[in-house]
Symmetry: C3
Subunit: 213 residues, 3 copies
């Protein structure tokens, strides 16, 4: 009874940290393309909030969290803009950022699963909802930076999201203890992601050279 | 009375085939950009289901078919992944693919018209809904592959979709026999598309060299 | 009492002009990439109507104006196609176009604020809604033309939209005389934008050369 709020509020705080971390990563990407200050803030907001926005639009889940609670917009815009001022420092904190980004991936995935679950979507959609929430913001960032999305090319990013979602959704199905399972999923997803980065795990690539038909 | 279900189920089977065909074409495009296996499946799903998704989001037509029935997701993901294994064979089947893709264009267009018609949208929106369903998935594919969309540059693709939609919508207006009209539209659209490919029909291009203002 | 309709209908006529102007600018961009006639019309429609579409989808504000009233689609498609025929003339009218585009930015921003205000969204969302309506169509255009969006890179475009929205929203809050405030906002926004163009005002850029992590 008293359990859920603490677990929920930890997740909530983690997701605010993750919002800021994703906005800051996006700001560095904006800086590599010499965007102006407004562009930096816009790219930060689109990256950090885009995944959840696409999820809610696809599921018809209104109102969107950042529309109901514009402080999310403020957090991401401020985090992105702050990056302009402290870019050198931010860039040096490579490790911290990788960890924050990994936390973001896992927390966003779990939040996305929660939303679909509360709408009584089928299991596959619960997992897809988690994956969209965790990954789609980065796809938007890469499209706006005129790159082929990193998500489609390398790293176990989507895979971490799917595994995290599967593990988390199992708990729903089994009606296990909520807090315990939340913590376990978080630790599992985070560990998987960090190991994938550390040991450069990659999915096999599909290289095809047939000419365009 | 017994007529509609058969016609409907033929359309339904054709649209499953079309989903798979579009996912496989997208997988080849992914291979040309050396995406990894996850990227191949994601690009396949976005391409095959993206047109219908954009249509439903724009029309506010919830729930989305693939959210209600995740087996569509499975079909596209499996078709895309299978392409990784049999890419050489798939690539050799150029003709078969062109036909399957043309079937997809026509069937998706008709399905899109149906959706808008059932929502009592005006005629112009019925046709636009068909065009979005038939064409928008390929636009998403090209944007994610970092290309200017083929749809905007060449081939009678959008035009086939518009003509198919116009012809199909006429039947709605005239309250003609459903099955007959469905078959006629299908044959007309498919023939138009295949002739356009065979004889390389193209829309005139607009080439403009004035410098950016 | 008789005041609002005139003010409204002036805004309405201005927004039709703005739709056409944005479609024509997009058509020139399409011509620079040698798109075909269908591509020109599609890019015109996506650019002119895309901002309002994204706003309505994000806010869950259905039905979309162009779905309810397909004449907007016709206006943009015709304006885009007409540009193919009179491209040289259009291109020579640089100044007229800059003014029309500036009118579009300001009028779309105000229309976007109105929509969010009528939905009782918080002030920040009213302004964001105006900015999405005014600016997002151009982002879609640039993504489909395979460019990094101009909005993120230069010119006081988003900033004009934000200032216009802030000024306009103040009137809502203060319950000032509607027509007067509408006119004042329009003049302010337009002046700001034209001055920004004339004197090449720009936001500072964030240039960051740290390598990708």
């Amino acid at each position: 009874m008293w359990g859920l709020p603490p677990s929920d509020s930890v997740l909530h705080i983690l997701s605010l940290v993750a919002l800021a971390a994703q906005a800051m990563s996006a700001a560095l990407a904006a800086g590599r393309r010499s965007m102006d200050w407004v562009g930096v803030c816009l790219l930060g907001c689109v990256t950090a909030l885009g995944g959840g926005t696409i999820r809610d639009v696809v599921l018809g889940h209104y109102p969107l969290p950042w529309v109901e609670n514009p402080s999310y917009l403020a957090i991401t815009a401020i985090a992105a803009f702050a990056t302009v001022l402290i870019a050198r420092t931010v860039h040096r904190l490579t490790l911290a950022f990788l960890v924050l980004d990994a936390i973001g991936l896992v927390v966003f995935t779990m939040a996305g699963c929660d939303v679909a679950w509360q709408m009584n979507e089928p299991l596959a959609i619960v997992i897809v909802s988690g994956m969209i929430t965790g990954c789609a913001g980065g796809v938007l960032r890469d499209v706006l930076c005129n790159d082929v999305p990193l998500l489609f090319r390398s790293e176990l990013y989507a895979s971490v999201s799917v595994v995290t979602g599967l593990f988390y959704a199992t708990a729903f199905g089994l009606k296990l203890n909520d807090e315990l399972w939340t913590v376990l999923t978080f630790v599992l997803g985070l560990t998987f992601r960090l190991l994938a980065i550390r040991y450069k795990w990659e999915m096999p690539k599909f290289v095809f050279n047939g000419e365009e038909k």
